[in-house]
């Protein structure tokens, strides 16, 4: 227990003097995960809407795939992405391995099914007659999409939070594709694992506190945006 307390104390100390390494690692964590989440939203929400509304052949199969993807083990994603991005791999010419972009890619693959699946469920919940009414009002497919997104903004926000939560806390894939390189691809989660492995439990605990604080702040903001929609 003293490790926990010691860690909390250290965390405040690190934050108070804005330890440059901690700041850098925190900002990188945020940048990588936020980018991955935003990409997933940009692609996942329309994709979820498409699956909810469309009549695609083999739709059932795609939906099962999405739902399976939601629970996909991150380490497998890490392994697959690594193999793809290797010099000898099919995507090796990108030279992405061991860069933050590789982590964005891995985290994108992890969060996309989550955001797609929840968006899809949210839009399927919408009364089909409403879609008919929108068509009757002369809405194009894109316009219908925007109105539906507006109508389902509460569960969609939940999707964003779920997606972000999944990737900000992820360590296996980030470690594998990023390499935990000091100053370049070291993020909070990989740093915590490294410090724990070295036996520096207090430092690891301190970083954990920083991570939890950051996650809380982001989620508090997203929750505010989500709930604000209800008051109007």
């Amino acid at each position: 227990m003293d490790v926990v307390l010691d860690g909390i104390v250290q965390a405040f100390w690190l934050l108070a003097r804005a330890d440059s390494e901690v700041v850098r690692v925190t900002l990188l964590s945020l940048a990588v995960s936020a980018t991955a989440t935003l990409l997933s939203v940009a692609i996942g929400v329309p994709l979820g809407a498409f699956l909810a509304m469309g009549r695609l052949r083999g739709r059932q199969g795609v939906i099962s795939l999405v739902n399976t993807g939601m629970a996909f083990p991150p380490v497998i994603v890490g392994l697959v992405v690594t193999v793809l991005l290797w010099r000898s791999g099919p995507l090796g010419f990108f030279h992405m391995l061991y860069t933050p972009w590789a982590m964005v890619l891995a985290q994108f693959i992890l969060s996309l099914p989550i955001i797609t699946g929840i968006s899809m469920a949210a839009i399927q919940q919408v009364d089909p007659k409403l879609r008919l009414q929108l068509a009757a009002l002369g809405a194009s497919r894109l316009q219908t999409f925007w109105v539906l997104v507006r109508e389902t903004r509460l569960p969609l926000m939940a999707a964003v939070m779920a997606g972000f939560g999944a990737v900000i806390s992820e360590v296996g894939a980030s470690m594998m594709v990023g390499g935990n390189i000091l100053g370049e691809t070291r993020v909070l989660t990989t740093a915590i694992v490294m410090e724990t492995g070295k036996g520096n439990f207090a430092v690891a605990m301190a970083l954990s506190v920083v991570l939890m604080a950051m996650v809380y702040v982001v989620n508090a903001y997203l929750t505010f945006v989500q709930q604000r929609g209800r008051l109007r």
Binding site: V32, Y98, P100, N200
Partner: protein, 292 residues
């Protein structure tokens, strides 16, 4: 619509920030090598010792090459070399390295330094491991008394050495209830040993770094069989056009240069009062001695 523009600009800002992170920082000296990136595959214990944090910036300063150290288990480091995914390796698993070289995966292998392992355990030493003069015998005492022994169990260089010593002692500990394979790094394995009042084999550096929180004492040290010898290996550049052979060579040259060797020799003195590594470049290879 305004929210959309906000989100998009946030997004673009993030991408710019990320690109800035990924781009190599401008080198401080005039000559910049054609391909500045060198991928070094090494082990977690090497990284954990902190030596690389000192050496790598020096190397960048001197040559302009930027090293990306990928710290994994010895097995994976060598596998990465085999696939040509790394340019140069820094490993301490002589047997596996020998196999690697004879299979033709590396073009050059040079001795760099060694540190040593120590056998640690509870101060009261119930197994009587302190008595014997060599490691295999000490391990035999541990096995006889069925005292808890924690192993890294992850095919790392440390684990390899440990397995070799058990073999020399003629004991097969795997599967026995007192033999606990953690599958983790040295720091974690030490902590588990400390918690369970057990024994373990560790590199001196990690032990010293964690001495304060551990309830373990050094019971055996100095036995040549406990030497942990580091070699730098140049991966065969013919494996892939992407291998930075010049950078790899520059790194190897750097490691064995006199200046670097003296830095290696003084590393740790400040923090622990004793040097952690013994620079060996140009000397007789202690691993060939220990192999006998």
């Amino acid at each position: 619509m305004r929210k959309v523009t906000l989100a998009v600009s946030l997004f673009l800002g993030l991408i710019t920030a990320l690109s800035a992170c990924a781009a190599p920082s401008p080198s401080t000296q005039t000559r910049a090598p054609a391909i500045p990136e060198v991928i070094l595959a090494t082990t977690t214990s090497t990284q954990d010792s902190g030596l690389l944090d000192v050496l790598l910036p020096l190397f960048t300063q001197e040559t302009g090459y930027k090293v990306k150290p990928i710290a994994v288990g010895s097995g994976q480091a060598l596998a990465l070399g085999e696939r040509g995914e790394a340019d140069v390796l820094l490993a301490h698993a002589p047997d596996a390295e020998a196999r690697f070289m004879s299979a033709g995966h590396g073009t050059e292998r040079r001795l760099v330094m060694h540190n040593d392992f120590v056998l640690v355990g509870p101060q009261d030493d119930p197994a009587g491991a302190k008595g014997p003069s060599n490691a295999p015998s000490a391990l035999a005492r541990v096995a006889q008394t069925q005292s808890v022994f924690t192993s890294r169990g992850d095919n790392s260089g440390t684990h390899e050495l440990e397995k070799k010593l058990w073999k020399q002692a003629g004991i097969a500990p795997s599967g026995k209830p007192w033999y606990q394979e953690t599958g983790q790094g040295m720091g974690a394995t030490l902590n588990i040993a400390s918690e369970k009042k057990g024994y373990t084999l560790t590199d001196r550096a990690t032990y010293l770094a964690n001495r304060q929180i551990l309830d373990l004492s050094i019971l055996l040290e100095g036995d040549p069989s406990l030497y942990n010898v580091y070699h730098v290996i140049l991966v065969d550049a013919r494996k892939s056009s992407r291998i930075n052979a010049e950078g790899a060579r520059a790194f190897a040259d750097f490691l064995v240069s006199q200046k670097t060797q003296s830095v290696i020799g003084s590393f740790g003195k400040e923090r622990f009062g004793q040097a952690l590594f013994v620079p060996d470049a140009g000397k007789a290879d202690p691993s060939s001695v220990a192999l006998k």
